[in-house]
């Protein structure tokens, strides 16, 4: 069946009453967690995982994906109206968005942000629809050496492009990979780091790890902060941008969509990085770059389109290779695994209803979000009036129930709390938890492919040079590694100047 035929069957799946409802709930919850500072899309997804247990896999992924891209829409609202980014990808939007609000153009900024998000999101779904099946077909030829090479380059890219430096990210990756080895070895049956605890024989639960590190950790940090919330009201008639604002926005929206789509394919904090790159690109292309940061519409249009485009393309490696490139796709992968579906090269051919249903629901969800985020913006803003001191106990309770409900195990609640404390500590010392979670999830596949490759080659590492794919990937990995090590170790200009001064 061709793409359009598949898409038509996807719409048949997505347009059932239940799936439209689930898509709406996902988008609504996503917008809410995007609006509320302190709860990002990741916490939003993990919190609703228990709700998906009673659903089929298609309904579950439709709802969870709705939260993911919905949060990107919601995040811009508080950035523009309050100078408080609802989620990390909207930090850049604060720069010009809030300045526009102070000038009385907050409504126009909200409109352009929503419009740009819709264009970016929709274009990235088109890309996802075309690229994911192609990539999955290509990946079907992958054996263990190819899989190992792909994962190796993914981790090195994660180190290079993550929110921290390479030398800060890589230890977190090693730690995550080590956590991933806990449990029974899949090849020999040996028990590793289990200390006779039967709950650990099947490995450490991925859900408590992700929910603890990101959900509980985030709450513990948020309880330390108090936010001064000054809300600027926007009337519906103020939403319309002027003709000049519209004219100035269309090119940044398309450029941002392109930038976001490409960056979204890379591992790391893609949606954050994409909005920054888009902002820098717009500033560089502007005739008067000095006006950026003082309320330029291009500073809202580009980044908001970029972060939404990145969410769509981030689904490509996750669905077609089984490699989540960020924490939110990683949690969606956990949800699919709970439903007995393994994302990877065979996913689209084995579960076309789930894949095409998801694609169709994303088109529907993007339209829902435009409606939710423009006329109903006032309702979402009023959410900020709920005191956080009531909100956080409820979120904690949902995290606990969500974790308990998977295996009805209090041991997993212990894991949840331990990783919550670890997540809190890691945030305090300004390291990033996302690489640890990704490594914990992907680690077992990486180890298995390495060992299977060596068994197949009778212990020779030359197996990684035998096919053009592995050869290219390993060569690029080595180059990236060398470049990162050089970049991290070379003396900076400041240190040269200091050394010269000391020598005088």
């Amino acid at each position: 069946m061709d793409v359009f035929g598949n898409l038509a069957s996807g719409f048949q799946t997505a347009l059932t009453l239940q799936n439209v409802y689930l898509c709406f709930i996902g988008c609504l919850w996503g917008t809410m967690v995007g609006v509320l500072p302190g709860i990002g899309p990741l916490a939003g997804i993990t919190l609703l995982i228990p709700v998906t247990f009673g659903l089929d896999a298609t309904g579950a992924i439709i709802m969870l994906a709705g939260i993911y891209y919905g949060a990107m829409y919601g995040g811009s609202t508080t950035s523009i109206l309050m100078n408080v980014p609802g989620e990390s990808a909207s930090v850049v939007t604060c720069l010009d968005g809030y300045q526009m609000t102070l000038k009385g153009r907050g409504g126009a900024a909200l409109f352009i942000a929503a419009w740009g998000s819709w264009v970016g999101g929709t274009l990235s779904i088109v890309g996802l629809m075309v690229l994911a099946p192609t990539l999955a077909n290509f990946a079907m030829k992958f054996g263990p050496p190819e899989m190992f090479s792909v994962l190796l380059i993914a981790f090195i890219l994660l180190g290079s492009l993550g929110s921290g430096s390479f030398f800060r990210t890589m230890p977190m990756v090693f730690l995550g990979l080590l956590i991933g080895t806990i449990g029974m070895d899949p090849l020999t049956g040996s028990l590793r780091f289990t200390h006779n605890v039967t709950d650990l024989y099947d490995g450490i639960g991925l859900l408590p790890v992700a929910m603890g590190a990101m959900g509980i950790g985030e709450i513990l940090i948020a309880t330390e902060e108090s936010l001064l919330r000054v809300i600027h009201k926007v009337k519906l008639r103020e939403l319309w941008p002027t003709r000049d604002e519209l004219r100035a926005s269309w090119a940044p929206i398309f450029r941002g969509s392109g930038i976001g789509f490409v960056i979204g394919l890379l591992p790391g904090s893609a949606h954050i990085l994409s909005s920054f790159v888009s902002y820098m690109a717009e500033k560089r292309l502007a005739k008067r770059p000095e006006e950026f940061g003082r309320g330029r519409i291009e500073g809202v249009a580009g980044p908001e389109s970029a972060n939404n485009a990145a969410t769509g393309s981030a689904m490509i490696p996750f669905l077609s290779l089984g490699i989540p490139t960020g924490p939110a796709p990683a949690v969606m992968m956990i949800a699919l695994l709970i439903h007995g579906i393994t994302p990877g090269p065979l996913f689209i051919s084995k579960h076309p209803d789930v894949f095409w249903g998801l694609i169709a629901s994303m088109y529907i969800g993007n339209v829902m979000l435009i409606v939710l985020n423009l006329p109903l913006v006032g309702i979402f803003i009023s959410l900020l009036r709920i005191p956080f001191r009531i909100l956080f106990p409820v979120i904690l309770l949902i995290c606990l129930v969500g974790t308990y409900s998977v295996n009805t195990s209090t041991f997993e609640l212990g894991v949840l709390l331990s990783f919550g404390v670890l997540g809190y500590f890691i945030r305090k010392i300004k390291y990033d938890m996302a690489p640890l979670i990704l490594a914990t999830i992907i680690g077992p596949t990486m180890e298995l492919s390495l060992r299977q490759s060596l068994m197949r080659s009778d212990g020779s590492f030359s197996i990684f040079w035998e096919s053009p794919i592995t050869m290219t990937l390993i060569a690029v990995s080595i180059l990236l590694l060398v470049w990162n090590v050089y970049r991290g170790l070379r003396p900076t200009k400041a240190s040269w100047e200091k050394a010269l001064e000391e020598g005088k």
Partner: protein, 154 residues
């Protein structure tokens, strides 16, 4: 102590732990790598990273301004709320199966609202009971999640 030094301690501790227990695992041969190979390599890399950040952290402590240090005073000052939450959550986890969800969650919410959020006693009791019972109904009855009954028979 700098933040990098605090991180280095985490990497060193986990590295030592991983190394100590990995060496007890079979290593196998090159053509059949055993279950110990991957963890021991990762432990080695963690030890290396920890040592590097430990040295770098020390140098930076002497070089940088006060603001770049971990700010332990600020951490301790802010630490009280997270530690209260962790203690209460740990207590709920320990008592979860014995007291059950309905009683456990209501007491947990009450403690959080009264002790951490500093609501008045009557408000704390009211909100805790409403959310506790409401969430029990939503999870146990609407979503059919299996929750421990504990002290109560439902």
């Amino acid at each position: 102590m700098t933040k990098d030094r605090a991180a280095s301690l985490l990497f060193l501790l986990t590295g030592f732990y991983g190394f100590f227990f990995s060496v007890q695992l079979p290593m196998g041969r090159w053509n059949e790598p055993g279950p110990g190979v991957f963890p021991i390599t990762l432990s080695g890399l963690l030890l290396l990273s920890g040592a590097a950040w430990f040295i770098r952290g020390k140098r930076r402590a002497g070089e940088t301004a006060e603001g770049e240090k971990a700010g332990w005073y600020a951490i301790v000052r802010n630490f009280s709320t997270p530690i209260k939450i962790v203690v209460l959550t740990a207590l709920l986890i320990l008592a979860f199966n014995r007291v059950g969800y309905l009683v456990g969650s209501s007491l947990y919410l009450f403690a959080l609202l009264f002790w951490v959020s500093r609501y008045r006693l009557i408000y704390s009791i009211g909100i805790a009971v409403v959310i506790g019972v409401g969430s029990w109904y939503f999870f146990a009855k609407v979503l059919a999640v299996q929750l421990p009954a504990g002290l109560l028979s439902f």
